[in-house]
Symmetry: C2
């Protein structure tokens, strides 16, 4: 038969048929009334999902483009900034800051660690203040979800601006932009927002706007003010990825119809189900076994098995795309993304695929234990 | 009945059903084998359409994002550069160069003028050399197509790097990147390339790579080297707009199947048909009445009629989207784009719509003369 495909990476994620349908319609002009109506509704929905009253800017770019806009708009040459990193994407903040010749300090952890607010407070006190702190809510490379509320609080107490990479987490787990006083939050269309890649979304607080006014880096395409001025008139500064905006609008409607709290609870239950299933197979979790880890589950490959090989086998034999490990974790872990258009049967499919592949490779796994345990955990509706 | 829609602006342009279909398929991972095969073919086809052996870099961004990458990669702070401008997009090069604090000289014409190689040569000689010259092949705001071959030649003779905005022209009219020695050519997915917006394409010559190595501007997302390193491994530096890349691959296949020379001839004939039809209605052309004007036809609104109102009437009454005038030409001209997925019946539809709307507004136009003349001109297959 024609192979069925299962996309289960932490991004891009599967896209609902209604979103694909909307994107497959004949193209419209980005300054015509059809698109303006979509843009107005989309921007309103985006703010609801960001839980903010501030403007959220849309850029046709990957999440990294949105992250770079933070450096070039929030900072000026020579600024001292602090990056908290514990994996690939935290380190990306540091690389971006270095590309902009900032004075970059880091609270740098081993990949897989969970950043601590106490460590951040201590470093900030030691440094005697920085202009901005860069955080990662969901470290996609390790499956760790940081306590952004606590981290942001210690940074704000010390008068630093707070910028958060929420690319893989926004829309899957709570990210309270306004009530946690996050100055900048960056998200992407292709993760929990259930839309193909192509758009970065960036919320900007009043304090961040004030910093932007002082910033002197050269910039044009990612200039926040240029985008805001356009969006205020329901316009766009530059021709956007029209179909992706149209898709995002539909996807956000689906999310808000489900209700954000319901969406978050679904993700928590999927995370629990995945972790319990993994443990029932006798595998060791790499990401923390806690409720917050509701974005991606990272799992250690069993002794003697290369996780990259396992990922290839799953893809070639069963059409299941999981993610391997990045950087120092290459070959050592594999990752199941469970965000966005994802339900319990996706979890059981992923677990069943892993079970079949590992059994073939000689592992001794009790048939079906992972799936049974995952269903139990999902139905329990509370931490188990 | 449900209104039919006719998109006839110089971008975004109509997208062929085969491209929409490909884009409406379930999303695939950008590092999986399905996408890698598409990327490999797409990059090969892009080079064919650019007529270059050099690498063409893909960025998820609007054309302006691609243009900004030229400033941040080709130049360094304080560089003296020369911009040739005669409309909105020429002036955008100048704005970008100013945002990067370059020493910007301009050969600046009134909107609607056709830049002259002699003027450029004289200014370059007067200045005693600049590091780079910025040109616009098709000035979308006026319908003027510049003689890039001649302009580039005088710049190259004077040892300047040449960067060309071919966003609305590439794939509609000849742009011989290698044989005209163009160091950088920027195109966009959403014009003659018959794909929705979302991708900028940038070709980079050996000399441009050498300049890039010396360049010191901060950059990350638009860094050419980062993109090249990824593309050489059939990878992407950052998550791309997956469906747009997939659509572009299909669209480029359609273009190359038709044959580039056939495509160019079709555009020349469409341009002629449009201009002859416009004149048969008794209207005055704003863009030059010459074969090279094969991208967009700009037309003066008749005395007493605001072109913006005309565009709104066409849209609201007939579902036909044309473009109005920008900047100093607002209210004065309207523009019919005829690039990409566009045939003679689109021309006759546009002309018939304009005829109906102007007649309603009280103009005295011979019924059907525009359409008859356009068909004649199209069939003549040679300049008339």
């Amino acid at each position: 038969m024609t192979e069925k495909r299962y996309l289960m990476t932490p991004g891009p994620t599967p896209v609902p048929p209604a979103v694909l349908d909307a994107m497959g319609q004949p193209i419209v002009h980005h300054r015509g009334p059809d698109f303006v109506a979509v843009l107005e509704r989309c921007l309103r929905r985006v703010k609801e999902v960001f839980r903010t009253e501030s403007e959220v800017l849309l850029f046709t770019a990957s999440g990294t483009g949105g992250m770079e806009s933070v450096l070039s708009n929030l900072c000026s040459p020579g600024d001292r900034v602090l990056v908290v990193s514990a994996g690939y994407f935290g380190e990306r903040w540091a690389k971006l800051a270095s590309a902009y010749d900032l004075e970059v300090d880091e609270v740098r952890y081993e990949w897989g660690a969970t950043p601590s607010a106490d460590d951040l407070a201590a470093r900030l006190d030691e440094l005697g203040g920085v202009s901005a702190v860069f955080l990662t809510q969901s470290e996609t490379s390790t499956g760790v979800v940081a306590d952004i509320q606590a981290l942001a609080a210690v940074a704000k107490e010390r008068s630093a601006l707070v910028a958060v990479d929420a690319v893989s987490s926004l829309g899957a787990i709570p990210c309270e932009t306004d009530s946690w006083e996050l100055d900048v939050v960056v998200a992407g269309s292709q993760k929990a927002l259930m839309t193909p890649p192509g758009l970065a979304l960036v919320s900007v607080s009043d304090a961040a706007w004030a910093a932007q006014k002082r910033s002197t880096f050269p910039r044009f395409y990612f200039d926040w003010e240029r985008s805001r001025a356009a969006q205020e008139k329901l316009d766009v500064a530059f021709t956007p990825a029209v179909p992706v905006v149209i898709g995002l609008d539909v996807a956000l409607g689906l999310l808000l119809d489900e209700g954000l709290e319901t969406v978050f609870e679904r993700h928590r239950r999927l995370g629990r189900a995945c972790r319990e299933g993994v443990k029932a197979m006798g595998l060791e979790l790499f990401s923390p076994d806690e409720d917050r880890s509701a974005v991606v589950t990272a799992i250690r490959a069993p002794e003697g098995i290369d996780s990259g090989e396992l990922v290839l086998t799953l893809r070639d034999r069963f059409g299941i795309t999981l993610a391997g490990g990045q950087g120092p974790l290459k070959g050592k872990i594999f990752r199941i993304g469970h965000i966005g258009y994802y339900d319990i049967f996706d979890i059981t499919t992923a677990l069943a695929g892993v079970e079949l592949a590992l059994t073939e490779a000689g592992a001794d796994i009790e048939r079906g234990a992972a799936v049974s345990r995952a269903l139990d955990a999902y139905e329990a509706r509370a931490p188990v």
